[in-house]
């Protein structure tokens, strides 16, 4: 197992600018993608069959890359330039959510390419999108400083009536939203963190929309990340500093208590931490643009507007590794857990079941005739896990150990069939045979005696016949 980071720049001096997918724990660089600058990008995973979707800057275009190929596999026209893009995976089905420059929110079904929803969501461009780990809650943040919480299922209904509305509209920020982070948990427990250029990070309960905490940083917050176990909040500031805010603290009675909730205000400005105990300063003066925490919560991957990407050790606040630079500001940074050493079952199969080409993304909303057909590609395009699963089941027997005990039981059971039949033959057939033998002897004797009688009668008849014949000859001679 390894953890890799995918990052892509938003602008580039070189037309053939690369995006990278590299390990954060070793010097390995897994793949790179050419001509890949993006307003936003979303990668489905690592390994065969996975894809990368890229929203091109200044073009109404989405580029699709296939794992293993450096150049784009498909270029799909979309209704407008997308400023944010997110691949969502719900129960084996892939959806693509895009936020437009006009503030519209688009949802496409990847298996059919149908545009299921095109909602006017924000008054200005959609700056960030995030989805809950179960794919049910979608949160969009806009430059209009609003945050909208959606039920994704509402947005992917055919001809919904009435039109879907956001579950909650959060308007606490006063400047554009820059980043969103959602915590994991059951639907009632999911928490939302939003950052804004107004220098605040706000913390909400997703199911109720209630504001739980406000973190004040005193300078624009560009990026945001939360520890997987919700122990720390990390905020990337425009000054280049990354601030760590503990979400649990030890109080004056030496007891652990939550640092959040009940509308609490938490100040995390540089004045509160003059010795920079809770700060990472690896980016110096370049504004931090993206932040992600590793799965074990020990490493913080950060990127800045100068195109630098650092892997920071959270304990020591020091740089553990610097990844290859990009020439422009990093717009997207995603951490992915991968197991690239593992041989996929699809490699064993001679058939390639993953469709290479996705249906083109439609530019107009789904029509009635399309609803009645609802043509989808299977195996589901854009969801490599699905077809890997089906192949695994096919090859499972290869790994199964031979169950000798079960086999011997089966042999015992089948052997009983022969034993019963043999015994039956021994018990039942033999007396019948013996009886048959006795019957045969009796009948032979009977036939023998009959034959004897008949031979005797025949001989008698023959004698009479011969006598009569000789008499006849005598009479002829006399004549």
């Amino acid at each position: 197992m390894d953890e890799s980071v995918f990052y892509t720049p938003s602008t580039a001096t070189d037309a053939a600018e690369l995006s990278f997918l590299a390990s954060i724990r070793s010097n390995k660089s897994h793949v790179q993608f050419r001509q890949c600058t993006a307003n936003a990008a979303s990668i489905t995973g690592t390994g065969q069959g996975h894809r990368l979707f890229v929203a091109c800057p200044e073009k109404a275009l989405v580029q699709v890359y296939l794992w293993g190929k450096e150049s784009p596999e498909q270029k799909m026209a979309v209704p407008e330039e997308l400023t944010s893009l997110l691949w969502v995976h719900i129960f084996g089905a892939g959806f693509l959510v895009g936020g437009g420059k006009s503030g519209r929110l688009y949802v496409w079904e990847l298996a059919s390419g149908y545009l299921l929803s095109a909602r006017e969501a924000h008054y200005q461009e959609v700056s960030c999108l995030e989805v809950s780990h179960d794919g049910q809650v979608l949160v969009s943040g806009g430059k209009d400083s609003r945050v909208l919480i959606w039920r994704l299922a509402d947005l992917i209904q055919f001809s919904p009536d009435p039109l879907p509305k956001p579950v909650h509209v959060l308007t606490n920020h006063s400047l554009p939203i820059t980043s969103i982070a959602l915590t994991k948990g059951i639907s009632n427990d999911i928490k939302l963190f939003t950052s804004s250029l107004d220098g605040e990070v706000r913390h909400y309960n997703v199911s109720s929309g209630e504001l739980l905490t406000t973190f004040i940083f005193g300078e624009p917050v560009n990026a945001l990340a939360v520890d997987p176990a919700q122990r720390y909040l990390y905020a990337g500031l425009s000054s280049g500093t990354i601030r760590l805010v503990p979400l649990f603290i030890v109080n004056h009675k030496n007891q652990l208590e939550s640092n959040t909730g009940c509308g609490k205000l938490v100040s995390a400005t540089s004045a509160d931490d003059p010795e920079s105990q809770f700060a990472i300063t690896s980016h110096q003066d370049s504004p931090v643009t993206c932040l992600q925490v590793s799965a074990d919560g020990g490493l913080l991957v950060s990127a800045d507007s100068a195109g630098k990407v650092f892997v920071n050790d959270i304990v020591s606040r020091q740089v553990a590794r610097q990844l290859r630079d990009c020439s422009g500001p990093i717009s997207t940074l995603r951490l992915l857990i991968n197991d690239l050493e593992r041989v996929e079952p699809s490699d064993l199969s001679t058939k390639s079941s993953t469709p290479r080409i996705l249906p083109n993304l439609k530019r107009s909303l789904i029509s009635d005739t399309e609803i009645s057909k609802h043509d989808i590609s299977i195996p589901a395009a854009g969801t490599p896990e699905g077809d890997i699963g089906s192949l695994t089941s096919d090859n499972e027997h290869l790994r199964e150990q031979f169950d000798l005990r079960g086999f011997l039981n089966q042999v015992r059971k089948e052997h009983a069939v022969y034993q019963i039949n043999t015994e039956e033959e021994a018990d039942v057939d033999q007396p019948v045979q013996q009886q048959q033998n006795t019957d045969e002897t009796a009948s032979t004797q009977q036939y023998a005696s009959q034959l004897k009688e008949m031979t005797k009668a025949y001989n008698e008849l023959r004698r009479v016949h011969q006598d009569l014949y000789s008499e006849h000859l005598k009479l002829l001679d006399r004549d």
């Binding site: 049910q136 039920r151 299922a153 509402d154 030890v250 004056h252 009645s372 609802h374 989808i376 042999v411």
Partner: protein, 733 residues
């Protein structure tokens, strides 16, 4: 199994003389199965055994052949034998199967057993060879045509094993099987016997036969597989629609506009002559006599067969990339569920009550069949089904038998629910599968009726008494004289003995449904309370069981995890009734972290320059651990280590540290934050460092020796006893 040792093959050889079946297979097989026995055996012994096994297979007697198949099965466990003799074995087994074990007119169970065993062994050998390139090329591929031919010839004798092997071949060897398409199809049609054969098969065989039948429709095509798949699927849907429309002979389908709309949305017979020529129904037309009520069940039987084929089509087990018209499939299933005599009444010319009842019965059968497929759709299509979520949920709601009373209230017709219990089960199952695709369903109105019907079927009830018997004393007296009312008297005096309670199956279905509903819908308080009441009663009823059913456990967990709008938790009552580890987390809430390690400027500096201090968060659990006698003794011992240097504990620590030693990533790749054990350090590679310790605001300086690595190993014997409360609050104080 008692066999543990290693016995050589030479011991077995004398027992395999002259095709004797007297030896005990139970003793021979484990010896042959032993890897060591084969690996250590001389080449001569091995050849001896394999040639004897081949001799067995060549015999004319079924028992000897069967004996041989078992020997070969176990012999082929070993790659050494597979490499040398698999080809011969496959040929011999194919010969046995091809000869049908000399079955002519009368079928003997011994011959069938031998045949099945031969097919199973052949399958085993092929599995061992499959995906190994050279072996497949040299041994399997040249013999495949004869194997397929022999399997097809015994399909009517051993349908299950033959179809099982054929299914694998259809998935993996499409090119070789291409010439046999029509032969296999012919045999399968004989097995299916139109629609008479299918319902005589068990579930496993049904699935195998249907799967093979569907796969050969499109998967063996050389080109345009996707188009052929789509065309065949559309033709199947047309055929299904045609069969469904037979109901228009009995029912006035025009009365139901919704039904008409659904019918119109489905694909129809092509008007184009050329396309019409291409359309060929899979099965011959049905012959139905309107005067014979039972004949209407033929429609259900045919629809069952076609729906099974449809299921196989859409699950696309061959894994070929195809385009599937999901909308049509769902429309057809909705059509099946929407047909109801309430909205599409019997035509006036049919006044026979028995015919009406049979038609109704066959419609319910179709609905159950459609619901079974709908239950599987979420697992096949997952999120792609979400666009159809609302319409499907409404159809499920409409399927519940209800009546509108004079006061305008809609009530469930209990009698019909009891008579169609299986159908209701299927509705609830399908609904819970569909609901599990989402959460926080906004429009939960359809769910309310489903909750009502689920609560209804869990209630106990009395069997319906004959009105003529129970009404009035005179009739009772009259009957008494005849002596026919004795059982009835019991029913009146000991009613509880006749109570019909919810079956296990009903409970399982309802629990699954409620568990999903609690998770996905924020129901109104009244409904939520009704469900929670059921949960409590159900838990009380089953509290004494040694192990609580998984579905009940899930329901209990969900009722606590998702309290909905209702703020009255059932946690206290449930925890009083049963003991469940899961509930402990709710009764003893805790923060996600316990001890943690943090950095401060004034902390210790390790050899790698990392600044460290140790903070105890005051968590009760960790305090308890520290207060334990063991911990105290460990602390004592640790301080001993600090002052005296190496003691007996150091040996263990060194061993553990050596195991976890990662010199390359020292300190940086390691994450101390995720540690759940109290902070521990070892004396290995120790050096003098300073740890700033402050407890309750008091700072102490203690010289300790720590490792230059962050040892997170919980097995480490040494721990730091000091606690630092190092946060802003303390600083303020």
């Amino acid at each position: 199994m008692g066999y543990q040792g290693f016995v050589g093959l030479d011991v077995v050889i004398p027992h395999l003389k002259d095709n004797s079946v007297e030896s005990d297979l139970m003793e021979i097989l484990p010896i042959i199965a032993d890897e060591n026995a084969v690996n250590e055996a001389s080449k001569a012994d091995l050849t001896h055994v394999t040639s004897r096994a081949a001799n067995y297979l060549r015999s004319n007697q079924p028992e000897v052949r069967w004996f041989g198949t078992k020997l070969v099965h176990v012999l082929c466990l070993h790659p050494r034998i597979i490499a040398s003799d698999a080809g011969n074995f496959i040929s011999a087994l194919t010969k046995i199967i091809g000869s049908k074990c000399f079955i002519t007119s009368t079928i003997d169970v011994r011959q069938i057993t031998c045949l099945e065993s031969a097919i199973s062994t052949l399958d085993f050998i092929m599995d061992k060879i499959r995906h190994k390139v050279a072996l497949t090329r040299e041994i399997l591929t040249p013999r495949l045509p004869s194997i397929v031919q022999s399997l097809v010839s015994v399909m009517y004798l051993c349908p299950k094993p033959a179809n099982f092997v054929l299914r694998k071949l259809l998935m993996n060897n499409t090119t070789t099987l291409r010439p046999f398409t029509s032969k296999i199809q012919k045999e399968l049609i004989i097995l299916l016997d139109d629609d008479e054969g299918l319902h005589k098969m068990d579930d496993e065989l049904q699935s195998l036969v249907v799967s093979n039948f569907v796969t050969i429709q499109y998967a063996l095509e050389r080109t345009n597989t996707e188009e052929i798949y789509r065309q065949k699927l559309l033709h199947l849907l047309i055929e299904m629609k045609e069969v469904f429309e037979i109901y228009s002979e009995f029912l006035d389908l025009n009365e139901d506009p919704n039904l008409q709309k659904l019918l119109a949305s489905l694909p129809s017979l092509p008007h184009n002559e050329e396309e019409k020529g291409n359309y060929k129904p899979l099965f011959p037309s049905l012959d139905i006599d309107t005067l014979e009520p039972l004949d209407t069940l033929k429609i259900s039987r045919r629809l069952h067969l076609l729906t099974s084929l449809l299921r196989e089509f859409i699950s696309n087990s061959s894994g070929i990339a195809v385009k599937l018209p999901l909308g049509y499939v769902i429309s057809f299933l909705e059509l099946n569920l929407s047909l109801d005599l309430r909205f599409a009444p019997m035509k006036k010319e049919f006044r026979d009550v028995s015919l009406k009842k049979t038609v109704e019965f066959s419609i319910i059968k179709n609905k159950i069949c459609a619901l079974k497929l709908l239950t599987q759709l979420p697992s096949i299509f997952g999120g792609n089904l979400l666009p159809h979520f609302s319409s499907l949920l409404s159809v499920y709601e409409l399927s519940i038998p209800v009546e509108i009373r004079k006061n305008g209230h809609i009530t469930i017709i209990e009698e019909r629910v009891w008579s169609q219990l299986n159908f209701i089960h299927q509705i609830l199952l399908a609904a819970s599968e569909l609901l599990s695709l989402t959460y926080n369903v906004v429009n939960f109105t359809p769910v309310l009726k489903l909750v009502d019907v689920a609560l209804l079927i869990t209630k106990s009830r009395l069997p319906k008494l004959d009105q003529s018997n129970s009404n009035g004393g005179s009739s009772l007296k009259r009957k008494k004289k005849g002596g026919q009312v004795i059982p009835l008297s019991d029913m009146l005096s000991h009613q509880h003995l006749f109570t019909i309670t919810a079956s296990k199956q009903t409970l399982a279905v309802v629990r699954q449904f409620f568990a999903t509903v609690l998770k996905t819908c924020h129901l109104p308080s009244s409904k939520q309370s009704q469900i929670l009441r059921f949960v409590v009663i159900d838990t009380v009823k089953h509290r004494s069981e040694a192990r609580i059913d998984k579905n009940l456990q899930e329901l209990i967990h969900n009722s606590i995890l998702f309290p909905g709008h209702d703020r009255n938790s059932i946690l206290p009552i449930i925890s009083s009734i049963i003991s469940d580890e899961f509930l402990s987390v709710f009764m003893n809430p805790r923060f996600p972290i316990s001890p943690r390690r943090d950095t401060t400027e004034g902390g210790n500096i390790g050899s790698n320059g990392v600044t460290i201090s140790y903070i105890d968060d005051g968590d009760e659990d960790s305090d308890d651990e520290l207060d334990d006698d063991d911990s105290l003794s460990k602390k004592q011992k640790t301080s001993d280590v600090i002052t005296e240097g190496v003691d007996s504990y150091e040996v263990d620590t060194v061993e553990i540290l050596n195991k976890n030693d990662e010199p390359e990533n020292t300190g940086l790749n390691h994450n101390p934050l995720v540690e759940q054990e109290p902070v521990k350090i070892s004396s290995w590679k120790r050096e003098e460092t300073q740890v700033e310790v402050s407890v309750s605001g008091l700072a102490k300086e203690t010289a300790v020796q720590i490792s230059n690595e962050y040892d997170s190993d919980s097995n480490s014997e040494f721990e730091i006893p000091v606690i630092v409360a190092n946060d802003s609050d303390d600083d303020d104080e």
